[in-house]
Symmetry: C2
Subunit: 427 residues, 2 copies
C-alpha cells in the first residue's frame, strides 16, 4: 500500500506553527510499515487543495489529510473534497449535535453546521463524534481527513487510521465499517528493542501472525502499539506486561514527569533534587507539570565544587578521595538534599555532559544518579551517549524513572540498558 | 513570484528527524513576502525526485530544494536534477578542492568527487565552496539545491537564496551572478514590532524603498534581516542599532544563554540563580551552554515557601507581610543567593506560571524578576501571557536579558514590553 500525507494550513507554510503532526505521523506509520511516499503541505486555498487531492488520489492507495476542518472562512478542506471528487455535502446530525453540546466549541448555529458538513459516503471518525474528521472510501482509495489540532490528530491517527490500514492490508477487501479491530498502546522507558523483538518472535505463531505491532520513539520514551482483534491484542498485551513491566510507564500519552508526579501525589510523598551535570533540567522537567508544587519541595543545582561542599555539605574528603564523579558523591548529594529539605525522597546527578571534560576513565556521558529513600540510598553509574543536550536529557529522565521504579516496584534500579554498576546502602 | 520548497530524505518521511528546516524557511521567506505555495517532502528515490522536480518547475517560479547532496549511495539529488532537466554533470574543481581540504569531511577521493558534481550551468553557493549546494537558472526558473544540515541550510537560505530572490523581484531580469547584494541580520529580544515598523516607515523614502526587510520569531528571540546594496543596508543597520540598541542581543545566531555566558566569561564574572516559578528552567538554559561551569556557580530552585525561608534565609516577615509574589521577595531571593554563593550577580524569579493559582490581584503570568549586582538590587514586575510552558520560558529568557542589559549598558531594566513596575535599591 502506497500512501501520502497532506497537511493543509497557511500557518504551516509560514512556519508560524511547527508541523509536529508530520513527524508524529511519520513515526507511527513507519513503525507499522506504512511509510508514506510523499508529504505535501499547502495553504488553505480551495483550488490548490482540489488539484493536490486529485493528484494524490491518482497516485496513491491512501491519503491522510489534516487541517482546514474548522468553522471559519479559511477552513475550506471539506468543500475542496466535495469539488475534487464531485461529492455533494450533507450535514452529519451526530456531529452537529456533538458540536452544539460541546463546551469546547462555542459556535453559532451557522458555524456548527459548517463544521458538521461531510461529503456523501463519508463516515465520521471521532468516538461519539466529539470532534471533526471523516473517512472516505473513494474509487478503491482510502482517504482520511483529520483535524489539525495535534491531540485530535494523534488520537484519530492511532485509533482509527492505523487500524483501518492494518485491516485492509490483511484482508485486501473493501472495508467501510472500521469495526472489529482493537488497539492498545503502552509507553515504555529504556526498552531494549532487540529484547522486545525476540520476545515477540518467540510467542506462539498464530498470536504473532494475527497482530500488527509497531513502536516509535517519543524521545526518550518509546511508544508501542498493538493492533488486531480484541482477544489477541489483550493476550499479547498481557504477555508484554508480564515480561517488561519494569519498563512500562503508562498506558496513555502521559510521560515520566506526569507519571512520577502522580505517584508522589497519590502516596502523599515529596521530592527534592540535587543536580550537577543535569544543570537544572531535572527540576525544570518536574516543575513543567501543573500542580507540581504539591510534591516538589526544592532543587539544589550545585554546579560548582564549592557549592556541593557549601550548600549541600558534601564532605571535602569524599569529593577529594572518591572524586566528584563517584557513587559516594552521588549518594552524599541525595542524602544531604533529602535531609536539608526534609522530603520523602531525593534524587541526585553528577557526571560529564560534555562536549569537553571527559577522560579515559570517565568519558563524556558518564553519570552517577543517586536516590535517597526513607530507608536506603542507591546510586547507579551510567554511560550515556550523544551530544550535551541528549546526555542531559537522558540523565534527567533516567533519574525520574529510577524514582518511578522504586515507588512502584521497590526494585529494578540496576537493570537499565546504560547502567554500568550499582551501589546500595542502608541509612 | 510563486515558489515551492522541496525536502528530500527518508529520515524526514519516517519522522526520525524533525524537519526544522521547513519551519525556518517558512518564517524567513514569509517575512520577506516570498511565502511558498507548497512544501513537498519525499524520500531519497531518484525517480520520485525527478518527477517532483519536473512538476514543481512547471508550476512555480522558484524551487528551494534541500537534502540528498552528500557522498553516500542514498544521496541521489544531483543525479536526479541531471535526469529531470537533461543536464550533464561536471566536477566543480573549487568544491572538490574544498572538500578534500576540509577536516570535517573525511572522504575517499571517490566520495569527494561524487559530492563535487554539479549540473552543467549551475553555480556553487557556499562561500569558498566550504560545503555543497548549487544554484541553477533553468528556463527562467530559479532552482536552489541546499544541503539538509540545518546550519548549512540556514546559512545558504539567508545569505544566498534570500538576496537572489530579492534582486530578481526588484529587477525582474535574469541574474546568474548573485553578486552586489548585501545582507545583515540582527537578533532581538523583546522587540515591539509596531515600534520597529513605524520607525522604519518614518525613515527617508529612498532608503526604505531600496531595501527589503524581514523579521521572524525564533521564540522568544526575533531575527531581523535587511537585504539590499551595501551602503543602504549599512545605513539602515546603523539607524536601527542607534534606536533599538537595548534590544539587540547579537549579530549572529547566538541566543541569550550563549551571549550572557560570553559577557560573564569575558568580564571574569559569575552568576547564581534563585528560582521559584521558573522551576529550574533558568538554570537549565544557562547550563545548556558548553563550558558554563566557568561562570555558573549554582542554582537554588526554592519552589516551596519553606525552602525560601530555610535554604535562602528569606525572612518570614517579608514573605508574610509583602507576600511571596512581591518586589521584596524577589529582591531578598537575589541578595541571599548572591551572598550564599559569593558570586558577582544573582538572578531570581517568583510568580505564577499557572494554569491554576492566579487571583485578581496577581493573575497567572505575574512574575517578579530580581537582579542583585555588586552595588544594587533591582526587581521588575512583569505580566506575561500564554500557557505554563510559555510563561516559564518568557520569565527565564527575560531574567537572562536583564543581566545582559545590566552588564552591557547598566540600564534598561524597566523598559520591557511586559514590565509593569520597577524597584531599585543600593546594597
Amino acid at each position: 500500500m502506497r500512501g501520502a500525507l497532506l497537511f493543509i494550513g497557511d500557518e504551516l507554510i509560514s512556519g508560524r506553527i511547527v508541523n509536529t503532526n508530520a513527524e508524529f505521523a511519520g513515526r507511527v506509520l513507519a513503525s507499522f510499515g506504512f511509510l508514506p511516499e510523499e508529504i505535501v503541505t499547502i495553504p488553505d486555498k480551495e483550488e490548490k487543495i482540489v488539484s493536490t487531492l486529485r493528484r494524490l488520489v491518482e497516485e496513491y492507495d491512501f491519503v491522510i489529510a489534516s487541517g482546514g476542518l474548522g468553522p471559519t472562512e479559511d477552513d475550506v478542506t471539506t468543500e475542496a473534497v466535495s469539488k475534487a471528487f464531485g461529492l455533494p455535502l450533507r450535514i452529519d446530525e451526530g456531529l452537529l449535535n456533538a458540536i452544539l453540546r460541546s463546551q469546547e466549541y462555542q459556535q453559532t448555529m451557522e458555524m456548527a453546521k459548517r463544521m458538521a458538513l461531510v461529503p456523501e459516503g463519508a463516515i465520521t471518525l471521532a468516538k461519539d463524534s466529539k470532534f471533526v474528521g471523516f473517512y472516505l472510501h473513494y474509487r478503491g482509495k482510502k482517504l482520511f481527513f483529520l483535524p489539525g489540532v495535534p491531540s485530535q490528530f494523534r488520537e484519530l491517527l492511532q485509533e482509527r487510521v492505523l487500524p483501518e490500514l492494518c485491516i485492509s492490508q490483511r484482508t485486501s477487501t473493501r472495508s467501510d465499517s472500521m469495526e472489529g479491530v482493537h488497539l492498545k498502546s503502552l509507553l515504555f522507558f529504556d526498552i531494549n528493542e532487540t529484547d522486545l523483538n525476540s520476545f515477540i518472535k518467540n510467542l506462539k505463531l498464530n498470536l504473532r501472525n494475527n497482530l500488527k505491532i509497531g513502536y516509535y520513539p517519543l524521545m526518550p520514551e518509546v511508544k508501542l502499539i498493538i493492533v488486531g482483534n480484541r482477544e489477541d491484542v489483550e493476550e499479547l498485551y498481557n504477555e508484554i506486561k508480564g515480561r517488561f513491566f519494569l519498563n512500562i510507564i503508562s498506558e496513555s500519552e502521559e510521560g515520566l514527569p506526569i507519571v512520577v508526579g502522580q505517584l508522589l501525589k497519590g502516596n502523599s510523598m515529596n521530592l527534592t533534587v540535587a543536580e550537577s551535570c543535569s544543570g537544572g533540567l531535572l527540576s525544570a522537567l518536574i516543575t513543567s507539570v501543573p500542580g507540581s508544587s504539591e510534591y516538589f519541595e526544592q532543587g539544589f543545582v550545585t554546579y560548582s565544587l564549592r557549592s556541593k561542599e557549601k550548600t549541600l555539605g558534601i564532605s571535602e574528603k569524599v569529593l577529594r578521595e572518591k572524586g566528584v564523579y563517584s557513587h559516594e558523591t552521588a549518594q552524599e548529594m541525595a542524602i544531604r538534599a533529602k535531609l536539608l529539605a526534609g522530603t520523602t525522597f531525593a534524587l541526585s546527578t553528577t557526571g560529564i555532559a560534555g562536549p569537553a571534560g571527559g577522560t579515559e576513565e570517565t568519558p563524556v556521558g558518564t553519570a552517577f544518579i543517586g536516590l535517597a529513600t526513607p530507608r536506603e540510598v542507591y546510586s547507579v553509574r551510567f554511560q550515556f551517549q550523544g551530544d550535551r543536550e541528549t546526555i542531559q536529557r537522558m540523565i534527567s529522565y533516567t533519574a525520574l524513572d529510577m524514582l518511578r521504579r522504586y515507588i512502584t516496584y521497590g526494585k529494578g534500579l540496576s537493570s537499565y540498558r546504560f547502567a554500568r554498576d550499582f551501589k546500595e546502602r542502608a541509612l
